[in-house]
């Protein structure tokens, strides 16, 4: 494994990619409706922020302890306590700063900015990682491939945890690798891991993956030997400092950032873990079957990855994974020197492979609750893109080696290759925007092919947003609308941000509504039929379609 020293230019390139990405997200944020989770997190962010505002007031009054009573903590933090507080606190701070103080953004964009920053952070880190351990070409391609995965681009807009946890997963692993060469990074790894724990529970698996990496890396140092007295002893390598650091800083940051835990740490932590061990199931449509309880077919995350990542990126990632596995096996079986001739480089590639497939593998386990979406295995994708970029590098070398005359054009070839690959992702984004969850790739002929196969294209209730214009212009005053999968908190935010008329009321059922927006999700088709029956007609007054595939339609009572 080569380690390049990162130059100022590298940091600038990484920063430029991240900044362009963040700006593109902020610029398009208003195109994307609020997903169900955002409704809850907007509310939580504002409430949690209220506690900090009150704490500041109490500090000024000289009564800071008033903020720390159980009653006061529960008043602000008992809402949505099934997830750690860090992201919701950041959503609240961002809203307080960008919306309330600086008046720069709408309320929703104010809440969303931290999620976008984490999207940018991931790209920045991916670039640095690629440049440090491979080369700039690989770094740029891997980073851009990640950036243009349409579903990732969609999720990067949201005030949710999935993109932030992907960034922090990547950061933790990156820091751990650096910690093997640096005391400073040994300490920092624990702190980064602690903040990752404060975002989402996915990262509890990271130490086990890192342990496997260390066992691979130092397996020569693991020995059983016979003592003089006849007993058997085990000799193990030095345990990396980062593990101790994670053990210390992880719990400190998890508990320290989350006031809700403080009145009764163990009981409330127990409730948190228990919630995720018995998570509810979300209905998922997969090849014409709706699954609302486990097990999902084992193939699910693999097939969904295959058909939701732009085709050429998936092909490169898959070929790169196969090539890397092949080289590791060749070395293991034949002990012949190859491109990964050192144990250090083989262990490093093993770590990348492990991370590229662990999250996908985890979701495929029959005992895992049905979470559904690709966002749950986003932490795999940066590594998958790195493997894809490595494949591109291998093919580029092959082309130039095959025809030495091409050496003169090697720069043009690599630029053209990178541009074409990234362009397919950009075309995918243009194709699906702003209904990102509906993206299916060229292998299945896009969203229309996914509709043929009855794959899930629309969920999370955000597409109601695209019907608001029709509702604002056409419904009589004081109408009530059955917004179907759009939740009440999202509806409130639409009104607050001026996207929906203030006199429009929220109806829980179509029975007493003037109009209904129906989200096309197979598990909820009964709600469309209920609407038809109650409204006495089946005339769609408006709709949002991708490639003629319905995402949401509006019906009005006759």
């Amino acid at each position: 494994m080569n380690r390049n020293i990162l130059s100022r230019k590298d940091y600038l390139i990484g920063l430029a990619i991240a900044l362009i990405y963040i700006i593109s997200l902020i610029a398009t944020s208003k195109d994307i409706g609020f997903v169900r989770d955002e409704g809850y997190y907007f509310k939580a962010g504002e409430q949690y922020n209220g506690w900090f505002v009150e704490l500041w007031d109490n500090l000024k009054k000289g009564k800071p302890l008033a903020s720390f009573t159980k009653a006061n903590i529960d008043k602000y933090f008992s809402y949505n306590h099934e997830h750690p507080a860090l992201m919701k606190e950041l959503f609240g701070f961002s809203w307080q700063l960008f919306t309330n103080k600086l008046k720069l953004t709408s309320n929703s964009t104010g809440f969303r900015i931290p999620g976008m920053l984490f999207g940018g952070l991931l790209l920045f880190l991916m670039y640095l990682f690629g440049a440090e351990f491979f080369n700039r070409r690989i770094a740029i391609l891997a980073t851009l491939m990640m950036a243009v995965i349409p579903r990732f681009w969609f999720h990067s807009h949201l005030a949710c945890f999935d993109v932030p946890i992907t960034a922090m997963w990547f950061f933790t692993v990156y820091a751990f690798v650096k910690s093997l060469y640096s005391f400073k990074w040994g300490i920092l790894t624990g702190i980064i891991f602690g903040f990752a724990l404060a975002i989402k529970h996915n990262v509890y698996f990271i130490p086990f993956l890192l342990l496997l990496y260390i066992i691979y890396l130092k397996h020569n140092e693991i020995r059983f030997f016979r003592e003089k007295d006849g007993g058997v002893s085990l000799s193990i390598p030095t345990i990396p400092l980062a593990f101790f650091s994670m053990l210390i800083f992880g719990p400190i940051i998890l508990i320290g950032h989350w006031p809700y835990l403080w009145p009764d740490v163990f009981e409330r932590l127990g409730t948190y873990f228990n919630y995720h061990l018995h998570h509810e199931h979300y209905p998922v449509s997969y090849f014409n079957i709706t699954y609302d309880r486990p097990p999902l077919p084992i193939s699910y995350p693999y097939v969904i990855t295959m058909i939701t990542v732009p085709a050429v990126i998936w092909v490169l990632g898959t070929l790169g994974s196969l090539r890397t596995t092949f080289w590791l096996l060749v070395q293991w079986i034949k002990k012949t020197p190859n491109i990964y001739s050192t144990l250090e480089s083989r262990a490093f590639m093993f770590l990348i492979l492990l991370n590229a497939f662990f999250s996908i593998f985890l979701i495929s386990l029959p005992s895992v609750p049905i979470f559904g979406g690709v966002k749950h295995w986003f932490p795999s994708m940066p590594y998958f893109c790195i493997l894809g970029a490595l494949e591109f590098e291998a093919l580029l070398k092959f082309i130039i080696g095959f025809k030495p005359a091409l050496i003169r054009f090697s720069r043009q070839i690599q630029y053209a290759g990178i541009s074409l690959i990234v362009l397919t992702g950009i075309l995918g984004i243009i194709y699906i925007h702003p209904v990102g969850t509906g993206f299916y790739n060229e292998f299945v002929r896009g969203t229309r092919g996914a509709a043929d196969l009855e794959m899930q294209r629309k969920f999370w209730g955000f597409a109601g947003y695209y019907e608001l214009d029709y509702i604002n212009k056409n419904l009589p005053p004081n109408s009530s609308v059955y917004f179907h999968r759009t939740n009440y908190d999202s509806y409130r935010m639409y009104q607050r941000d001026g996207f929906l008329r203030k006199d429009i009321n929220y109806a829980n059922e179509p029975d007493n509504a003037t109009a209904a927006t129906f989200h096309f999700q197979k598990a909820y088709m009964k709600d469309l039929y209920k609407t038809w029956r109650w409204f006495g007609n089946r005339i769609a007054r408006h709709g949002t379609y991708i490639d003629e595939v319905p995402m949401v339609q509006t019906y009005v009572r006759q």
């Binding site: 014409n288 079957i289 709706t290 609302d292 732009p310 085709a311 050429v312 092909v315 490169l316 070929l319 090539r323 494949e391 291998a394 093919l395 092959f398 082309i399 074409l420 690959i421 397919t424 075309l427 995918g428 194709y431 060229e442 002929r445 896009g446 229309r448 509709a451 043929d452 009855e454 096309f520 598990a523 088709m525 009964k526 469309l528 039929y529 209920k530 038809w532 029956r533 007609n537 089946r538 005339i539 769609a540 007054r541 408006h542 709709g543 379609y545 490639d547 003629e548 595939v549 319905p550 339609q553």
Partner: protein, 302 residues
């Protein structure tokens, strides 16, 4: 094989795959928008269909089944969009218009051409409309669904008989839990919404739905089914539907715990031209999640 030749072959294969996929991707993104119909296509196609459509006996079949945008233009007309049109009961329709987007209609043309008389094909930009005529279509003379209000409903549990007396919102309520009613619904059966009479069976009871003075003709045709969600949810009991004319059983139909609209037909030629009492009885062994419904019509064929 020499290792170098092996690696060279691998590289050529990989390069070819990447190249082909790249070309295919660009081809797809160029083709996809070009193949989409425009709003004008929908307007013209729907205008054409409206000019020929008889609301009492014609139907539009959407191809593909998810082409729901058509409801913006023809939502007031009778539209069906099952996953498999060949499984549907199309006998009662005089004209069938196949509304085809992205040329999906071509896939069902052999089925239609085999069963019906081809009338016309028209193209409106990227939309094609095929018209078929059913020369032997059956007139619907009486619909049990439409006449639910006139039904008399009883729940018989051993010697205990409970009359359902409250009719509200197209539902006969029989007391008990929310789900115990006989009412008009549109339910998700075999992947499409179907109008039928909700008649959730009750363990140990028989639900009896009586229609007096039904003008019978050549046949009674209908279907029964469990909602897709109910079939998915549990390994539930079958549901039994018994149909009697003047208290004489003419059909005993078992609805297994399987997805589908299970069709039935009763030859009523002997009763043709006279009015009779028709009784539907619904029962099951275990009523857990038995989201069951049925519907039927009296038909006369030509």
């Amino acid at each position: 094989m020499n290792f170098q030749i092996f690696m060279k072959t691998i590289n050529i294969i990989s390069l070819s795959i990447v190249g082909i996929v790249l070309i295919y991707s660009f081809g797809w993104y160029i083709y996809s928008p070009l193949s989409r119909p425009k709003i004008r296509d929908y307007e013209e196609a729907s205008k054409y269909i409206r000019g020929r459509f008889d609301k009492t006996r014609d139907v539009i079949d959407l191809q593909p089944f998810w082409a729901e945008r058509a409801r913006e233009y023809m939502g007031d007309l009778n539209i069906i969009n099952p996953r498999d049109i060949s499984k549907e009961d199309l006998n009662k329709y005089k004209n069938i218009f196949v509304f085809s987007v992205f040329d999906y209609g071509k896939q069902v043309l052999p089925f239609f051409k085999q069963r019906f008389k081809f009338v016309e094909e028209k193209t409106f930009g990227k939309i094609r409309v095929y018209q078929f005529e059913n020369p032997t279509h059956e007139d619907v003379l009486y619909s049990f669904y439409d006449n639910l209000k006139d039904a008399k409903i009883r729940v018989i549990k051993g010697s205990e008989i409970k009359e359902c007396k409250e009719f509200k919102n197209d539902q006969w309520r029989c007391g008990g839990p929310d789900w115990q009613y006989i009412g008009k619904e549109i339910l998700d059966i075999d992947g499409t919404g179907r109008e039928c009479l909700w008649s959730h069976p009750i363990t140990g009871a028989i639900i009896e739905i009586n229609f007096e003075n039904v003008p019978l003709s050549r046949k009674i045709a209908g279907f029964s089914g469990l909602t897709d969600e109910a079939v998915r949810y549990v390994e539930g009991s079958p549901v039994y539907l018994s149909i009697s004319i003047d208290d004489k059983e003419v059909l005993y139909h078992t609805n297994p715990n399987k997805i589908g609209a299970h069709r039935f037909e009763i030859d009523t030629t002997p009763f043709r031209g006279s009015n009779h009492k028709v009784t539907f009885r619904v029962s099951t062994h275990l009523d857990g999640v038995r989201h069951y419904c049925f519907t039927a019509e009296v038909r006369d064929s030509r």
